[in-house]
């Protein structure tokens, strides 16, 4: 009788590495096709059609939607706002996360608490966190206004911030944009800080000590050693934040709904108002696709940087 040991060993699927590799990557490809590729093609299709939520029939109308949105002044304002919002908020995020990361690299008492607090905004659901800010920036009951009033900076004739009793943070176009940017920075700071921390801790300790002995302290060390060495990682944090900001609508939607008078309107919120709430699927799709070339370029740049980081 043949025992287990005598039976000839046959090459099973486990031994056929190439076939196995193909089989194992199928779910990932299926996922990408179904969840990303299909909706993307649908968006392109809608953008050259006259699809609306109210009408089941559909006609191909070519680039009319694109022409229509380009001639819309709100779209052009939203486009400008999107770039302003994304670049200003990301510049601030990079500067502040850099400072935070550098401080968190130091040894001090209660460091764990500081790290915990820095990470906290990331753990809160963004809609809830932003609603919190909505209350803080309320046009009448804003606690910031209350503090400013009690500090004598607001609400009295000749006060630094004017005689009115409230700042109307979300009610004036400049202040509204500033508020939206501020909350977005607050929200993206934890992630950027963690990325920068990873960058800073990847610098060999010898290099920093050598710089210290060479006489480079403080600014010079940052400008000549740590920033150039972590530049690829800073770049990744920046580009990642950029894409995130270009495509996200939570903060603007919750705080201002694009107002006042479209002064904080960005492409993502405008897509939503036009395509979902307004029912014009075709124009909504066209607006959402408008940034695709920019985003694709940014993503490519990011992947390139990521590859360069490994070389260091």
């Amino acid at each position: 009788m043949a025992t287990a040991e005598e039976r000839p060993v046959q090459a099973g699927i486990r031994d056929r590495a190439e076939l196995l590799a193909k089989l194992m990557i199928v779910p990932a490809i299926a996922y990408i096709v179904a969840m990303i590729g299909f909706p993307f093609l649908m968006a392109i299709f809608y953008s050259v059609s006259d699809a609306t939520t109210g009408d089941p029939t559909l006609r191909i109308i070519g680039f009319q939607n694109y022409a229509a949105i380009l001639s819309d002044p709100v779209f052009r304002l939203a486009l400008k706002n999107t770039f302003f919002f994304a670049f200003v908020s990301q510049a601030l995020v990079i500067v502040f996360s850099r400072i935070l990361a550098a401080s968190l690299m130091q040894e001090f008492r209660g460091k764990w608490l500081a790290r915990f607090l820095v990470m906290l905004p990331w753990t809160a659901p963004i809609a809830l966190g932003t609603i919190g800010w909505l209350w803080i920036l309320d046009s009448i009951f804003s606690p910031i206004d209350w503090i400013l009033r009690n500090a004598g900076l607001l609400g009295t004739p000749g006060a630094l911030l004017g005689p009115e009793t409230n700042m109307y943070w979300l009610g004036r176009s400049g202040l509204a944009m500033a508020s939206v940017i501020f909350v977005h920075v607050w929200r993206l700071l934890p992630l950027a800080t963690v990325i920068q921390l990873a960058g800073l801790s990847s610098i060999p300790r010898d290099l920093l000590e050598s710089a210290e002995i060479d006489g480079a302290a403080g600014w010079r060390r940052a400008v000549e050693i740590t920033i150039p060495l972590t530049l690829p990682i800073i770049g990744i944090a920046f580009l990642f934040g950029l894409i995130f900001t270009f495509t996200d609508m939570a903060v603007v939607y919750v705080l201002t709904r694009g107002g006042p008078v479209h002064s904080t309107q960005v492409l993502s919120t405008w897509t939503f108002f036009k395509g979902i709430q307004g029912g014009d699927l075709a124009q909504g799709a066209a607006i959402s696709l408008f940034l695709f070339p920019v985003l694709a370029g940014v993503a490519t740049l990011m992947l390139r940087l990521a590859r360069r980081t490994e070389v260091v």
């Binding site: 060999p204 290099l207 000590e209 210290e212 002995i213 060479d214 006489g215 150039p228 260091v312």
Partner: protein, 347 residues
Amino acid sequence: MAQVEVRGISKHFGEVRAVDHVDIATAEGEFLVLLGPSGCGKTTLLRMIAGIETPTSGDILIGGQVVNNLPPRARKIAMVFQSYALYPHMTVFRNIAFPLKAQGFPREEIPTKVEWAASTFGIEKLLHRKPRELSGGERQRVALARAVVREPSVFLLDEPLSNLDAKLRTSARDELQQFQRRIGTTTIYVTHDQVEAMGLGDRIVVMKGGKVRQIGTPQEVYNEPSDTFVAGFLGSPPMNLLEREDYIAGFRPEKFLPVSVYDTGEPLVKLWLVVHRVEHLGADRLLYGIMRDTFPNEKVIVNIPSTVDLKIKTGEAQEFAVKEKDIKFFDRSTGLRIEPRRFWGTR
């Protein structure tokens, strides 16, 4: 140039005493080597002298001045790291110029200075390259040039040769010593390699467990070890240590030769040895043997230069001898060196 002195210096990391009450003073322009196994505290000691580690207690003096509270840049030292710590994003030129720039050296004089430092180590042609385009030996020279360029009063070197291959290490060792003799800057050099220590140092500080075990010239620490640790750590193969009831006797493998080699009237101690293995190392032959009719498990290593032409048969007992004056005695419980006494070769 300056003398470096540490007085009663200690560094504790929690419960661990990395450096435990060490006193060392260099002479002016001396090449002092800190030698010991890994974890003996030698690098921590060097880092404290550099100022990148704060001592738990004790004083560091450079040029007679207490520098405990001075930052590294104010101590007029230069340090070469084991990894060389070259700035990867800068060219060789900018690497060497960096300490000058950082210390506010007049901008127009920097190129001359960099070229002088580069020519000292023969790397003028590499100035426009990045560190990743250099070989290990070239990187080491760049690191040395960067250390020299600011003309420090003390050099601190942390195992600068350990990343080089064996052949390069020998020539780099030679160059390093010649260079140090030429500029005459006080140098403290950390290594775990006893050959490097013997070859480079004016004096060697042998450390273990955060403590200094012996300070002396290479000849002193080799020939007159202060305890069994030093005796065993220096020399390859190490000193033969034979335990007796009330002491430990030690002699170097190269001082223990077949009786027929000796022709002097000096008093000898003769021992019978059964050789069970011979290693031919080219310049030397190493014999591994066991003492016959004394202590059966005592293993002894003999190092015979290949110039001594002698047939050695394995498995047979042969009579070997060591000069009485070449036997060192150590206390059995403390391991410390004790006065010479009569050596009982046989029971």
